[in-house]
Symmetry: D3
Subunit: 339 residues, 6 copies
C-alpha cells in the first residue's frame, strides 16, 4: 500500500540549546512540517510513501526537498515554483519557560500554489491512502481549494483519507477553521483530534484547555470522538492523544483509538521530553503504519503512542526511529508505564 | 523614573555543556555581574536604566560594555581605564555535582578604581533609584569608599537606595562584610537578603545554611527581616528569596517582601533549573521594576519571584525576558505552583 | 556633527565556512544592510550616528536592532511594525566559485513601510548629514516616496545628503533605477558610484562590466564622475572604488574622490579578501567620517579606501575597526601598495 | 603502591547532544575503555598508575595514548603495532529512549596482539596491584592468553589482582565467558560483579535482569557474593553496584562490599545521570584507590559509590574528579540520599 | 540514458579546520568514495543515476546510504550485509603541509562482499553506462571478481563501460594493479588516467611523478593516451587531468580528451583549492554527463575540467554544483585562465 | 641527552576564525608559551624533555599542565602555587589586517614566583641542556633572579645553555632588556636572535625593522651574529630566522646558523602561513633537537627552518609534527624553495 502526504515544508531555524533569539548568533537549520514529518515516519518504518508540496527552485527549497528524500520518501512529484520557502523560528523552552514558535511563512511557494499546480489524477493514480493535516487548508484559500479537489478525487477512487485536524490559532480563526474543516470532514475516513482540535476545528466540546488535566477528561474526550463519527458519518474512526502536562517537559501521555464503535486505549506513558515538536505527527505516522500493515486496533494505538513518546526524545521534526525500536519501547517500558 | 546600577562587569568563561575545565578546549564567553544583570533586567522590562562601572579601554572591556548596551542599557557614563577586565570561570554542575566558579578578578580595572573616578554629582543628577549589591564594596577598599560617597549623595538628594546584600565568601570575610555592610545599611532604603546574607553580611540569624530546607525556616526568615528594619531604621523594606533545594537543579522557590510592617509572600514555584546564575539579580531587577512602576506589594513579590524562576531557564547572566512573559508565568504557572 | 542613515536591516543567514546551503545544517546569523553598516562604521569611528528603519516587534526584529545598538549606534528613532524581517542567505565563494546571495526580503516590515511611518521633521531635527543608498528606494514604492520626502526636508533645512548609488539588479530594473535615481540625484550633495552604478543607476557609461579590469578603465571612470556633476549640478562631489579582481578574493583596490573640480586618488591596495560583503559600505562610512571630521580630500580618499580594504578581512557585514587601526593600515601598508 | 591496568583503548565517536547517527554530520571524539578509565580515575586521585595496551603507531593510536597520558597516567609501557584502533559509536539516550552503542572493534591492534607482545616480567616488576576487566579476555583468544600469563606472574610474585567481571554480550557468549572467567577467577583476589555479571560470567544467580529492581534484590546479591568467595577461595572480596533504574537517567544507586566475611553497604543515592558511560569503571577506580590508600571497608564502599554516581554527571569516559570532590559528595549529599 | 556506478562508500572523519588528529576532539563526518562521488555529480547534473555498493545494516551504513540518496541518486539496489563501514581519516594540509589520509577500510562490508551479492542481470537491466574506478577491484579479490562479472555482462549487452584507473598505492602494489587492470582494460570503452595511473596501473610511461610539472609533460601524456588505445583496442577514448602544482593548494589544471583519434584540450585553469578531495571524481562525473548528453568532444573536456576545478572550492567529497554553475565558470573564468 | 625548558605557561583565548573580540561569544582555549612550545616540539621529536614552570593549583592551571604533559613532556617538577594563570587574547589577522595579541598576564603564579620556588640543584641534576627565552626574565624581577641562579648552576655543572632572545616590547623596555640580557649572555652557549632582538635585547644593529626586507639585510644580520660572539665570548653559536614578509601570511623564510666561525644558511622557503604563532619556538625546538642528536650544522639549520615553516601550517602554539614530516618537507619542498 502506498501513502501520499500533502502539505507545506518549512525551514526551521532553532537557536542552539535554550538560547533566546535575542542571544544567539547561530541557527540550527532543519526542515519539517506536519505532512513531511508523517512521510518521513512512514519511510523510517519502511512503508512506501510519497510527499507532495510546492517549493521554490532555489537552494533553500532544494535543501528542504533533499532532507525529506534523504530518509527515503519519494519526492518525485514535488512541484517547483514560487519565490520563497516558509520559515519558522524556534526557541526551545524548559520547565516553566514555554517553547516559542515564530512563523514567517506567509507568501511562501506553497501558500501561493494554486489548484492547477497539482494534477491529482496523475498524483493519486497509485495511491491507497491520502494524508493531510488541518495545517494544509489553513495555509491559504488556494491551497484549501487544492485539498478539496484532492478529496473529491479520493472519494471517487476509494482512496482512504486520513486527516489530523491540527488546529493552529496562528494560522486561522476558529470560525474559519470550523467552516472549512466542517466541510472537509465529509470526505475524511479517519480523523485525528487532539486537545483543542475538537472545539476549535469542529466546534465539538471535549477538552477544557487545561493541559495539566487532559487525561483526567477522558470521558468528555470519548464523548467528543463519538460525536465526530455521529456528525460526519463518513468518518468511521477517530484517534486522539491525551496528556497531563506538569511542566514543558514532564507529563503523562496516552492514546485512544475509536473504531468499529469501540474504544482502544493505550497504557499511560510518563515521560520527560527532550523536544516536543512533531510528537503529534509521529503519532499520525505510526497510526498510518498500523493501518497500512493491518495491525489490530489495540496494537495500532499502543504502537502509535509509543512512537509518539519516542519522538519526544528525538531532536528536530522527523521521528527518526525504526519499527523495532518502537516495538521495544512498547515491550520494555513497563518501568515508567502507569497502567 | 531612572535607575542607576553600580558594580563590576566581568568576563564569564564557561565550558560548553557540562565539561570540566580539564576537558574543554573552548569557552563560551559572556559578560555579567550582579549590577549589570539588574540593569539588563530593567532594560528588558523597558525601564530607563543606566549602568556605571570602570573597564579597561581594550577590546575585552569594550566587548563587555557592548554586551550591556546591546540590551538597551545606557552606558554613556562608564569610566575607562585600568588594565584588565575581571574574569570568572564557570563549570555548570548537575544533580549532585556542584556548579563551580573560579574567580580571576583581582587587579581588575574596577577593583583598582578610586573614588575620584566617579563624579557622583554628575552621575546621579537625574537618577531616582540607586542600586548596588554587596559584591561592589567587597571588590576593594577604594570601591567601598566610592560606594560610601555615592550613598551620601543619595541621602542628600533623596535618591532611593536599594541593595542586595549578596554576601560572597570568596571575596571577603564575614567580619569585614559585617563591618562594612553594617555601616552602609544606614543609607539603604530597601534591602534584599537571601540565605546566608542575614548572618554573614549583618550578623543576624535567619537561615541555618541547609539549602534543602530554606522555606522550612520561613519563621526565622521573617524574624530576620523584621530585625533588619529594627536595627537599621532607614531600611523600611526587606525582600528575600527562600529555597528548598533538592539537587543542583531541583527545588522550591518563593519570595517574601516585608514592607509597611507587613509580609507579602509569593506562591511556591517548584522548578528544575537550566542555569542558576543570576536568579538573584533577576529577582532584584524585577523588584526594582515593580517599585518603579508602582506595583502593589503583593504583585511586586509575585512578579519578582516569577522573574527569578524564569531566569533559571535562561542561559548566561542576563534575564532576557519581557514583562509580558513574566506576567504569563504568574498567571499560567498553576500547574507547578504549590499554594 | 550628527549623521542619520536610513535603510533596511536584514537577517543574514550564512552557511559555515564554504558550505553550500544544500550541505549545511547550520546558519550563522548576523544582521546588516547597507545603511546600518554605514552607521556602525561611524559608531566604531566614534562619530554620533543614528540609524532609522522599520522592523517587526518580534524577537528577530529586536535582535537585529540590538546588534546595531550594541556597537553604539543610536536606534531610538526606529519604527516598529509589520510582520517580518527581510532575510538574505549567503554562501561564501572562493577563487573561481562565486559568492552567492539569495534574497528573501519581499513583504518585510521595511518594504511595507509607508511615508507616514517616518516623521521627518522629528527625525531630522538635529541631523547634519543624511545618508542612504540606492537599495533603499529600490525596496518598494512606498519607501521610495519616504526617501523623496526626506530629501525634500533635507534640502529645505540644509542637511547634507550623501548617497551610494548601490545598484542591485535583483531588486529593480535599470529602467526603474534610472528613472528614480535620476530624480533623487537632484537632492544629493555627494554621491558614491561604483562599477556598474554609473550605467545601471544613471545611464552614464564609465565601466564596461569587466571586474578584472576596473582600474584599467580609470579614464572612463573619471569622465563618468565629471558627467555626474555636470548632469546633476547639486551633486558637487563623487567618490568611487575601482577594482581589478583576479579571483573572488584577489584583486587591486583603489579609490577616487572628485570634489572641488579635482580628482584625489588613493594608492592601489593589492589584497586577498576574507569576506567581501560590506566593503562598499565601509568605504561610505569612512568617507562620511572624513567629511564629518573635516579631513582634507586626499586624506578622505586614502582613509576611505584603507577602511574599505580593511573590511575585506573582517567577517560579517559591519566594519568593526577603529580609526587608529585604519590609520595604521594607511601608514604601514607600503608592503603591498603599488604606487 | 603502584597499580597497572591492562585492556583495550578505543576511539569513541559520539553524536552531539542526542542526535542519531542518521541525523548527525559530526562526531565528538574521545577515547576510553574500561581499564584506561580506571587508570585515569586513579591518576585523578593522585595514585601512581600505569596503563598497558597495544595501539597502532598512527595518529589515531597516538591521540588515544595522549589522552590517557594527559591526565597523568604512565603510558611508557604501551606497545605499538597493528593497523587500527577499535572504535565504538555512541548515541546518548534519554528517558525511555535507550542509549545505543555500536562496536567497530574487531581486527584492532589490541585484539590482534599476541602473548609475546607483553613482557610481563618487565611490565609487572614494580607493580603492586594488577587490574583488568572481563572485557580484556573477551577481546580475542590471544589477548586471553596474555591475561592468563599475567595472572600467573602475579600469583608468583604476590601482586594483588582485581577484576571487574564486566560481561559484554556483544563480545562473547555466556558459555565462553563462564568457561574463561571461571578459570581466571582462581587467580583473582578481589572481584567486582554487577547486575548480570554473576549469571553471565560465572553462572551464579543473583540478579533477575530487571534493572528497575536491582536494589530490591539485595538478598540474592549478597548470596551471590558469598557464593563467589566459596567457589573461588582465592577471591577473598567482592564488590557490587546495585541499581533501581526508573528511566535511562533516573535511578537509585548503592554499593556493597563483601570482605573479611562481612558486608559493608553504602547509602542509596538517588540521581539523574548526564552520561552513564564509565560509572562502573569509576566505581572500580575508586575502590582501588581505597584499597591502595588503606581506607576502612565502610569508607571504601561509601567512597566508591560516591565516585561512581559523580561520574554520572561527567561527560566522556573518564571520571575527571578529584578526591576532595568525591569526599564532599559523601558528606553533603544528604539531600538526595535515602538512608 | 541511465548510469550505474559501483564501488565502496566510506565514512570520512575529518578534523575541523586544519587541526591534526592529535589536537582534535571532534570529527566532521561525511561520506564518500570515488564511485558514489561520481553518482552524486550526475544526480546534481540531473542525470538518471544509480549507485551500487554493499553496506552494513546499521546506523553508520544507513547514514552513508542516506547521504547519497539525499542528492537524488537511486540507491534501491544497494546490498545490505557485513559488519562495518570502511573509514578514512582526513587531515587537510595547506601550502607545504601535505594533506594526510589514513585508511581504516579493511574488513568492510564491501571488501568482504562476494560475487553472488550482486545479481548483475537484475542490476544492469536498464543501465546504459557502467562506471567504476580502479579503487573497486583494489578493495579485495572477491570484489575484483564481481567487477569482472559485471564487465562480462556489459560486453554482452553493449553497456558502455567507463573506468577511472585511480591507482592507490595504499591499496595494492603496482604489480597487482597492472595484472588486474591490464585484463579489465579489455572490457573498458573509455578510460580516465591521471598522473601516476599510466605507469602504476598499466605500466605505460607518461608522467615522471613530479606534480609540479605535470602539464609540462603534456607530450608524454599524449603519447601515453595513444598507447592505451593501441594496447587495448576496445578502449577507444582516454581522458586525463594534467596539473602543475606549486603548493598543496596552488596550481594549474587542464584536461585532455583523446577520442576518435584526436586530442581535445581544455584551457588551463590557475586555481587555489579549498579542498582537493574528489576533484578527479568530479572530472569523471562531468565527463559522463557530457557523454550521456552528447556534448561535442571539446565541450566534454572543457566542461569536465571546469567541473573538476569547481570541486576544488567545494567541501566534502561530493561536487554539489549545478550544470548552470559549471557552464558559468567555463564562460566567465577568463580572468584566471591561461590560454 | 635531557633538555629542560623554563618559562611561563599561558592560557590562550583565541576568537574563532577571524572574528574580533568585539564580535565573538566564544574563545578557543589552548595553552602555550615560548618555553613550553619548545618542550612540546622536542617531545614530538621524541627527545627527552622536561618543562619547568609555576602554575596555580586550580583547574585552569592543571588544564595547562595537562596540555603539555599530553604530548609527552615530563612535568613532574612543575611548582604549584599562586592564584592565577596568565592569559593572552588572540585575534588572528589576515593579509593587511594585523594579528593582535592582548596580554593579561600580570600577577600570574609564574610572575609572582620567587627564587626559592625552584630548587635548581634538584631540577638540573640530570639535565644536559637548559633552555629559556628572553620572555622568562622579562616576566618579573623575581623570575629574572631565578634565571640567574639557574644559569650559575649550569655554568658550574657544564650544562649547555640555549636562549632565544625573544624581545617583547609589551613586557619590558629596551633599556631594561639590554641591561638584563647583556649580563645573562655571559652564561649562554647558543643564542637565537631574530629580527629586532639584536637591537632591542642587545643593542647590536642588524635589522632595520622593515619586515618586508629581512632577508635582504642578510649582510647586516651576519655582522650582528658575529658581533654577538665577539661581545659575549661564552656564546659560541648564534642562529637567526630571516624573513621578507609581504602580507600577514605571505613571505620568504630562511635560517642562518653561525657556529665554529662559519655561516650555514638554509634554502629560502616561500610560504603562506595559517597561523604564525610559535614559529620561532618551533625553530628553537628543532635547533635543540639537531644539537641533541648531533646533526651536522647544515642539517641543523635546514631542519630548523623546515620545522619553523611547517609550524606556520599548524594551529595553536605547539608544533605538533614528527621528525619524519619535517624531513619530508626538507626533501620534497623543492617546488616552493628559492635557492
Amino acid at each position: 500500500m502506498r501513502v501520499l502526504t500533502f502539505g507545506e515544508l518549512l525551514l526551521r531555524l532553532k537557536t542552539p540549546e535554550y538560547l533566546r533569539i535575542l542571544q544567539s548568533d547561530n541557527f540550527e537549520a532543519s526542515y519539517g512540517g506536519a505532512e513531511s514529518n508523517v512521510a518521513v515516519s512512514l519511510a523510517m518504518l519502511r512503508d512506501e510513501v510519497s510527499f507532495l508540496t510546492k517549493i521554490p527552485d532555489n537552494p533553500v527549497g532544494l535543501a528542504a526537498l533533499n532532507e525529506v528524500r534523504r530518509y527515503g520518501v519519494d519526492t518525485s512529484g514535488v512541484v517547483f515554483g514560487g519565490s520563497r520557502l516558509g520559515i519558522y523560528y524556534f526557541e526551545k523552552g524548559s520547565n516553566i519557560r514555554p517553547t516559542t514558535v515564530l512563523y514567517d511563512r506567509e507568501h511562501s511557494a506553497f501558500a501561493e500554489a494554486c489548484e492547477k499546480d497539482f494534477a491529482w489524477d496523475q498524483i493519486l493514480k497509485d495511491v491507497d491512502v491520502f494524508y493531510f493535516s488541518g495545517v494544509t487548508p489553513a495555509v491559504s484559500d488556494s491551497v484549501e481549494r487544492a485539498v478539496r479537489e484532492a478529496l473529491k478525487y479520493c472519494r471517487e477512487h476509494s482512496i482512504y483519507v486520513v486527516c489530523d485536524l491540527n488546529y493552529r490559532s496562528k494560522m486561522w480563526s476558529t470560525e474559519k477553521a470550523q467552516k472549512v474543516m466542517g466541510e472537509l470532514m465529509n470526505w475524511i475516513d479517519l480523523c485525528i483530534a487532539n486537545d483543542e482540535d475538537f472545539e476549535s476545528a469542529l466546534g465539538i466540546p471535549a477538552f477544557d484547555g487545561d493541559m495539566a488535566h487532559g487525561i483526567d477528561q477522558i470521558d468528555t474526550y470519548r464523548e467528543g470522538m463519538k460525536e465526530i463519527t455521529r456528525r460526519y458519518p463518513n468518518c468511521k474512526a477517530v484517534a486522539s492523544v491525551l496528556r497531563n502536562m506538569r511542566t514543558v517537559e514532564d507529563g503523562d501521555w496516552m492514546g485512544i483509538y475509536y473504531t468499529g464503535g469501540r474504544f482502544y486505549e493505550s497504557p499511560v506513558h510518563t515521560v520527560h521530553s527532550l523536544e516536543a515538536v512533531g510528537a503529534g505527527d509521529a503519532f499520525a505516522g505510526a497510526l498510518l503504519h498500523g493501518i497500512v500493515r493491518g495491525f489490530a486496533p489495540q496494537k495500532v494505538i499502543d504502537f502509535s503512542i509509543a512512537a509518539s513518546v519516542m519522538k519526544l526524545m528525538i531532536q528536530h521534526d522527523f521521528n527518526v526511529v525504526s519499527e523495532a525500536e518502537i516495538l521495544k519501547i512498547m515491550k520494555t517500558n513497563d518501568v515508567n508505564l502507569q497502567r
